[in-house]
Amino acid sequence: MITFGIVISLIFFLARSAGTDPFERYLSEDPRIPPDQIQRLRHRFGLDKPLWMQYLDFIRNTLRGEFGYSLYYHMPVFDKVMQVMPYTLFLLSISIVLSTIVSFVLGVFFAWKRGTGVDIYGTNICMFIRSTPHFWLGMILLLVFAYYIPKFPLFGALTPGLQHANAFDFIRDLLWHSTLPLTTLLVRQIGMYVLYMRNATVEVFGEDYMLTAKAKGVPVRSIMFKHAARNAMLPMVTVTALRFGFMVNGAILTETVFSFPGTGRLIYLAIMNDDFFLLQGAFFIISITVLLANLVADLICGYLDPRIQL
């Protein structure tokens, strides 16, 4: 709750401190509009009220889900963002689940093989991958798998103009289009979180109960996944909570490269079209989504480890 308050205030403060009001920004240089008209518009939208009243108005409107009007699309920001949101959520949810599973298994594996060639090469490759920008990774994938080996489409989320015969067809088309964007997000995420998982697991290996398990003659696989991985999972869940924001960054860049019609591409187009309200609204809606996801992660964390007080 306090967090939401901070975000709302932050946006209001930022928008106001920039010192431009929308009418000045977009209309005052247009000679066809007389100054008193602008004054009337300012009055109508409450921009001549004192700052604190504007602030209250802003909060009230935000709570009502009114984020302003997109100048480029000629529709309310909220509707436009909600229109493209499912695509982003689709990308994010799949890549979060898959990358968590893969980094989990690979991380435990590298930790088990620590010090050997597999571990050293593996961690170094991961390090390089986590240093590549999302958009470049995406461009390389496009270059290889859409141009030189034309297996996947160059852009979009669905084949333009195609009528899907049934839901199954639709899903196949969507998956075909989203393979490369998903791969980009996955590879980048895995590169990052394998290292976390590996280090967390290595730390657990130092614990006494690991030695006990070995001494008891517990099978290797069982030690790895039941004893080590389970205890290393906690820091991973905490990291996952911090990860959502990072994932959104990745989604914006990735969607831009693949022209995937999600929120990220919407933000890119908003920059290109100088659509400030869309940008502001999209930022706000994304922030709320990330905060909610974070709250859920915190709850899961508390469930997994009762020692953590919420």
């Binding site: 306090i2 967090t3 901070i6 975000v7 932050l10 946006i11 930022l14 928008a15 401190s17 920039a18 431009t20 620590r114 170094n124 390090m127 390089f128 986590r130 240093s131 590549t132 920008p133 999302h134 958009f135 470049w136 990774l137 461009m139 390389i140 496009l142 270059l143 141009y147 160059l154 280090n199 290595v202 911090l242 959502f244 924001g245 990072f246 994932m247 959104v248 960054n249 914006i252 860049l253 831009t256 490269v257 933000i267 890119y268 920059i271 290109m272 400030f276 940008l279 502001q280 999209a282 930022f283 994304i286 922030s287 990330v290 905060l291 974070n294």
Partner: protein, 294 residues
């Protein structure tokens, strides 16, 4: 004074001897120094002026143009060399500001505690959780102008959270140590304690954080530049990729992509950031020997 210098020299020597034993740390240092060298001597190294048209557009790499030319006939190799300057400068300067803001926040929060600490840390948490690129885009849009300094400013305003948290937690532990309590008992003020005790003790930590901050500032810069928010008169690696994406790098010659335009800038970004991460890890291991045994 003499003793002080000797002490510092000794510390530097033992630091160097530990650092030398770390192969990946050395590799990182070599790569980073290579890029810094390129950045400093850019005018001597680059064969052409990166902002001037030198030949026909979209030429393939040849002996004359090592990495070919772009859509308006500029030499990509020269663009890349000058881009090193822009990318590294933004990275290092933004990281410096980031670390200064973060350290101030952390020290104040840790030392004063109570309500101030609560408020500052709550604020830090929010900024930390929020996705940084949309926040940066919003900031840049608000400033309204695309310039080199605004980019640095925006990155510094959003990037300090990690440093603040780290510095705060180590300030909290240093605050409890006996020598700080002793200093307080003889009447030392907050300013004295911060300058004489806390800053010297957290500075190794700040060094390592600074290196990571450079890496993340460069990543942020690359992302923003790619989205078209860079300064057109200071072409960075990210901006070269932005131009490649928007001005038809994909359909360069008869519908074939200009790979020579797309691959090199990203490779430079990735190598620099990887080298910074390697250096950062080595520093961390030196500061915190517990990590070394792994």
């Amino acid at each position: 004074m003499r003793m002080r210098v000797n002490q510092l020299m000794g510390a530097a020597q033992s630091f160097a001897s530990v650092y030398k034993r770390n192969k990946s740390g050395l590799l990182g240092l070599v790569i980073l120094l290579f890029f810094i060298f390129t950045a400093i001597f850019a005018p001597f190294l680059s064969p052409y002026n990166p902002y001037k048209r030198v030949d026909r557009p979209l030429l393939r790499p040849s002996r004359e143009y090592l990495l070919g030319t772009n859509d308006i006939g500029q030499d990509i190799f020269s663009e890349l060399i000058y881009g090193t300057r822009v990318s590294l400068t933004i990275g290092f300067v933004a990281a410096l500001f980031t670390v200064i803001i973060g350290t101030l926040m952390g020290v104040v929060s840790g030392l004063i505690g109570g309500g101030v600490d609560e408020i500052l840390m709550r604020f830090t948490d929010v900024i930390m959780i929020l996705p940084s690129i949309p926040l940066l885009i919003l900031l840049m849009a608000l400033f309204g102008k695309q310039s080199f300094f605004i980019m640095i400013l925006a990155i510094s305003i959003t990037g300090w959270t990690g440093t603040a948290r780290l510095v705060r937690s180590s300030t909290l532990s240093i605050k409890e140590r006996t020598y700080v309590e002793a200093a307080k008992a003889v009447g030392a003020g907050d300013r004295h304690i911060i300058i004489k005790h806390i800053i010297p003790n957290v500075s190794p930590l700040i060094m390592a954080t600074m290196i990571y901050a450079v890496a993340s500032a460069m990543m942020a810069e690359a992302g923003l530049a790619f989205l078209g928010l860079g300064d057109p008169s200071h072409k960075s690696w990210g901006m070269i990729l932005h131009y490649a994406e928007t001005r038809g790098g994909w359909f360069a010659n008869m519908g074939n992509p200009a790979w020579w335009w797309i691959i090199p800038p990203g490779l430079c970004i990735a190598l620099t950031i990887a080298s910074l991460v390697l250096i950062g890890q080595t520093l961390e291991e030196i500061i915190n020997p517990r990590l070394r045994r792994r």
